[in-house]
Point group: C2
Chain length 425, copies 2
């Protein structure tokens, strides 16, 4: 560890001992799960570097940006529009962590029966191990599920700069009005934070930047339709995870470079696993770094993941924002249109999600669907049952898994996943 | 059981065997919990009768009303405005049940980690044991918590007449607009169902009727401030429960009659327990019939309950609707104003609830607060932790309980409640 990083983390108020421990665990997991994979695309070297520097170089970049007067905004949800943040010359970073930390302290503030994602967010704050959170000039919460909505009330006592965005629960006319009002309010808050007036021009440029990032991910996703698939689900998930952290332009370039390589692989019929390896679609709750448990199990059990119907995946990235408008109002309406399409389980009803799962199952030529639910995540667990029934009625093999961030159920999950994959052969 | 009731239940499609079992359990519980109490007000005879006929005479009345062309609307929440229903010459009945039923069937449709109230609603439908549900011409769901919001999507497949009302999550200007839009939409739906055009006059009359019912409950509540308290918490809870089922005018008259009696008791210094018996405020999740477990434990452990900060209690009934307007628009605005004040944990933030608990604690001269949370009820369990801390910082003794409808934890709860009461002496 370089001395300058230690100084940087200290300056952010991190608990150096706890943070060292976290980096140790993260490094070991990355080694065991990622670097142990065979036949990885050479382009993944970029993401290996990003991950090795996830609390180092990237944080230094953010702090350099801050030094130069740029603001950093942290978010816990794909409903926070990056376009608005970039248009104000600020940087958006994802704050959702995927590992248990300081659980004893967390359970003094949150009920034990809270999902791992929310608990983890609190744990990273209470344990003082998240340099992104500590670098943020504004932290954006949003009224999605009850768990997050109510947890932000407590988080507000732990951080000094929480901004909460309200969200609709129904895709009605009134629901869309609420989203528009809230995005306008957010734009004003971002302008106030940054001291930058967003213009139609800056917003249009920001839309291009974010669309380019999404288009690169769409290209990557599309290449996974090939059999043999040229990239593992683990590696594709990593790209989807880094989507939330990296500099947008550099991310776009790096993903496109990998895509060039994957196209050559496809031409050469080269894959990460043999042709006709059982292909899996994963659908459900988001997987934040370093929550790689389920894909690791799947891809070491004889199957390959070809798509993620998830916030960290297609649900978060699938639609572009229409860039054809030239006025602020038109572009803001386009942003509202784009985000209002997100088929999150917080909406009722949410039939688009089932349609999207079926569509992905077909397009990616999957052999089965694994529904991934975080324990106590009511919206996704509630949807899981009717979705499983609907998929099975269409003869789509489905495995429903509820889990958390612990490794306690690893053996049990592996047995279930192996049995499911065996059934598909 | 009279033959005519059996015919009536059969006509409603009830499962007679299962329903008999339910009535048997209900009757036994009522005997053990209610009729075993000492020194009850004579006026409670009315509620004993109501309860003995809760699936009999009251259902016959509803069916007679239906025969005469009146519509019956069922609801699961205090956000459904009875004023609008009555103004259309329809009857509103509560549908929340307080007992486990057909759990095996329920868990095929809902995650195991769903609160007992929601599971029970499904159990009473799947088990075919709720004559209220089967009598309803319209069943109103509402987007309160994630659990209910998402469960209604499945309930929609079980009943043919579900209407879902959207609700705000924030007490903002936009939140109030949503509530107004939704109440206007509900008014139109009720008019369409009933074929009755609601007028300013009929709405004003309905407001009077519901206000009178609430005022009677306020009077009853107020008398519980006396020491010794003239009525048990169990009996007062029963009145609050029957509030959701009974004919409004008859309910108002019966409660006021009990209040006359209680005033005499207070003058005579006569109570249901000796002066200086530890006085408890219960706060949290609603208790639907026959969910009497916690108050039964409290009142057989040496304390008396003097107030309920609950939907089935003060949270549901505390504010009157302003009846001073003369136009439809003014009266609708008054209704929105009244319901928008409800301090349900679905709102974020929800500081009014803590204020109300402290206010009730002082007004009712309570010695302690028991926070009652249903397991997996995220909004109330999330609020429970900061509320407990805030109350304790004000030196208000607080006991936090999470439970469900089963009797499995009875002994454990009793031990905890007894210890808490002992501490207050």
């Amino acid at each position: 560890m370089s001395d300058s990083y230690i100084k940087m983390w200290k300056g952010l108020g991190l608990d150096l001992k706890a943070h060292d421990m976290l980096l140790g665990v993260l490094g070991k997991a990355y080694q065991d799960i990622y670097l142990a994979q065979k036949d990885r695309p050479a382009g993944m070297g970029y993401f290996d570097f990003v991950m090795s520097e996830v609390h180092g170089l990237r944080i230094k970049e953010l702090l350099d940006e801050k030094e130069a007067g740029r603001k950093v905004i942290g978010s816990y949800c794909v409903f926070v529009p990056e376009e608005i943040v970039l248009a104000a010359n600020a940087t958006l970073v994802g704050l959702c962590p995927g590992a248990d930390f300081a659980m004893e302290e967390v359970e003094k503030l949150l009920p034990r029966n809270t999902c791992a994602l929310i608990k983890s967010s609190f744990g990273f704050k209470l344990g003082k191990v998240c340099p992104y959170l500590e670098s943020a000039d504004m932290i954006v919460g949003e009224n999605t599920c009850d768990g997050k909505k109510k947890a932000y009330e407590s988080l507000n006592n732990l951080v000094g700069n929480l901004y909460v965005m309200d969200l609709p629960q129904v895709k009605s006319g009134q629901g869309r009005v609420l989203l528009k009002v809230e995005y306008d309010r957010f734009r004003a808050a971002v302008e106030e934070l940054t001291g930058v007036s967003i213009t139609a021009e800056s917003l249009k440029h920001a839309i291009w930047t974010v669309n380019a990032k999404r288009s690169a991910i769409h290209r990557l996703s599309s290449l996974r339709k090939a059999d043999p698939t040229p990239i593992s689900g683990l590696d594709a998930l990593l790209a989807n995870q880094v989507f939330f952290y990296d500099n947008p332009a550099r991310f776009t370039e790096s993903v496109n470079k990998i895509c060039d390589e994957l196209e050559n692989r496809i031409a050469d019929k080269k894959g990460v696993s043999p042709e006709k390896t059982p292909r899996m679609l994963v659908s459900g709750c988001p997987m934040a770094v370093p929550n790689w448990k389920l894909p690791w199990i799947v891809e070491t059990s004889g199957a390959v993941i070809v798509g993620e119907e998830s916030c960290v995946g297609a649900r978060g990235t699938r639609n572009l924002t229409d860039d054809s408008g030239n006025s602020m109002e038109d572009l803001m309406e386009a942003i509202v249109d784009r985000y209002f399409k997100i088929d999150c389980a917080i909406f009722t009803p949410n039939p688009e999600r089932l349609n999207h799962i079926v569509e992905m199952y077909e397009e990616y030529r999957a052999d089965g669907v694994i529904h991934y639910g975080l324990q106590f995540c009511q919206p996704y667990l509630m949807e899981a049952i009717p979705i499983e029934k609907a998929l099975e009625s269409k003869n789509i093999p489905t495995l429903r898994i509820d889990t958390d961030y612990s490794m306690e159920d690893f053996g049990q999950l592996k047995t279930r996943v192996e049995a499911f994959i065996e059934m598909l052969k």
